[in-house]
Amino acid sequence: MADKDLIAKRIAKEFSDGMILNLGFGIPNAAANYIPKGVKVILQTENGGLVFGPTPKKGEADPDLGNSAGSPITMLPGASAFDLATSFGIIRGGHVDATVLGALEVDETGSVANWKVPGKMMPGMGGAMDLLVGAKRVIIAMNHTDKDGNSKVLKKCTLPLSASGVVDLIITDKAVMEVTDKGLLLKEVAPGVTVDEVKRITEATLIIPETVGTM
């Protein structure tokens, strides 16, 4: 299984029936493909909709139905459409049960950086800062290390923060870690990955319980 699929599949295990979810683009969004049978979640797109479905086929796209990436989507029975003031009222007001977002860095205090690399990359925060502060549960999904092998799971983020002390769970291609008051608790390791290996590629201090599961 590719790392991406491993992460997406693991994210989906966090979903339970009736949850209202906002999934970031890329891997988080792919988690929707692994939702267990019988579990129905409600997906929000922060540009102003609830209960959306798959990408339409060619010839069937509605120019008034796009998601927060500007891609065509479909709306399912029970859908609603609303403006951005309502959409971010939903987000900031704590009405989203969980959000899953990617990150450039995350740290053991639950802080996260995912909106800019000064002087280099300036995507902007979009709706991420509001989601990080407003969602009841924040899950960060990303690769454990960058292209050069440097840990993205840090003692303290070095890049400009998106939010401070908000992350609940970190899911990477190597491990699952819970953010606790005392630091990062290692919950699971990826198949074929040892606890020692995770420790080696993690800059943050890990709390290692007696038993560590497998993702």
Binding site: G59, A61, P63, S71, A85, F88, M122, G127
Partner: protein
């Protein structure tokens, strides 16, 4: 009462140096005919207030204004879909004020609704705090942002009646209802202009009192073709 004008006439209202709010989210619900027309004028030094930048599929909606260098400043939450904008920003050719999406929206709502500003928890503990007053309410800190208004709002709706009432469709409303409340001059581009009374009072998303000028946009059929092409080109429709 609003007046019905041609897109060309309406766009003449926009002068160099003005602040212009533009509705839409990555093209969806954007007043693309007005933007296409504005891109053909000499108007420049605009402050664009748009919740995100242009559709990643390319030379579409806001993107033309950026590549023409008609924009001196953007107030937005996201620039990542327009590489040229980011390059111009990093080169110092354009100024960008980043506001979190919910903050951007509430500031404009506050501007239109006569509120003194907004108090948001978003951005606490980040560099968003820089230069902002912090207000503590019930022991919790919030960032105070002032309201945001503009000279002109370019709104897109599905239909307008002649009294200016606007009806929105699907997810194309996004920033449109909010910006329609917060500009000195509001121009609405619609797929169809109908007689007063044809829009059900329950389907009015923006009451006519907010609208100054109505223009006929590309219309439903042409828009469907435009977006089909855009999305096909970028591999999103197969």
């Amino acid at each position: 009462m609003p007046v019905v004008k041609s897109v060309e006439e309406a766009v003449k209202e926009i002068k160099s140096g003005q602040s212009v709010m533009v509705g839409g989210f990555l093209g969806v619900g954007a007043p693309i005919k007005m933007l296409d027309t504005l891109a053909e004028t000499e108007v420049k030094n605009l402050t664009l207030i748009s919740v995100v930048s242009s559709n990643p599929a390319g030379n579409f909606d806001l993107a033309k204004l950026i590549s023409n260098r008609q924009v001196k400043k953007m107030i937005t939450s996201h620039t990542g879909t327009n590489r040229e904008l980011v390059q111009q920003y990093l080169a110092g050719a354009v100024d960008v004020e980043y506001n979190p999406m919910g903050t951007w929206t509430e500031r404009i709502r506050a501007g239109g609704a006569g509120l003194g500003g907004i108090l948001t928890p978003t951005g606490i503990g980040t560099e968003m705090e820089k230069g902002r007053e912090k207000v503590v309410v019930d022991g919790k800190p919030f960032l105070l942002y002032p309201p945001l208004k503009a000279n002109i709002a370019l709104v897109k709706a599905h239909r307008a009646d002649k009294a200016g009432n606007l009806e929105y469709r699907g997810l194309a409303l996004n920033s449109n209802p909010v910006i329609a409340t917060a500009a000195d001059l509001v121009i609405a581009e619609v797929d169809e202009i109908v007689e007063t009374g044809e829009i059900d009072m329950n389907r009015v998303g923006t009451p006519g009192i907010f609208v100054d000028i109505i223009v006929k946009g590309y219309g439903d059929e042409e828009r469907k073709e435009i977006f089909e092409e855009l999305w096909t080109k970028s591999g999103l429709l197969r």
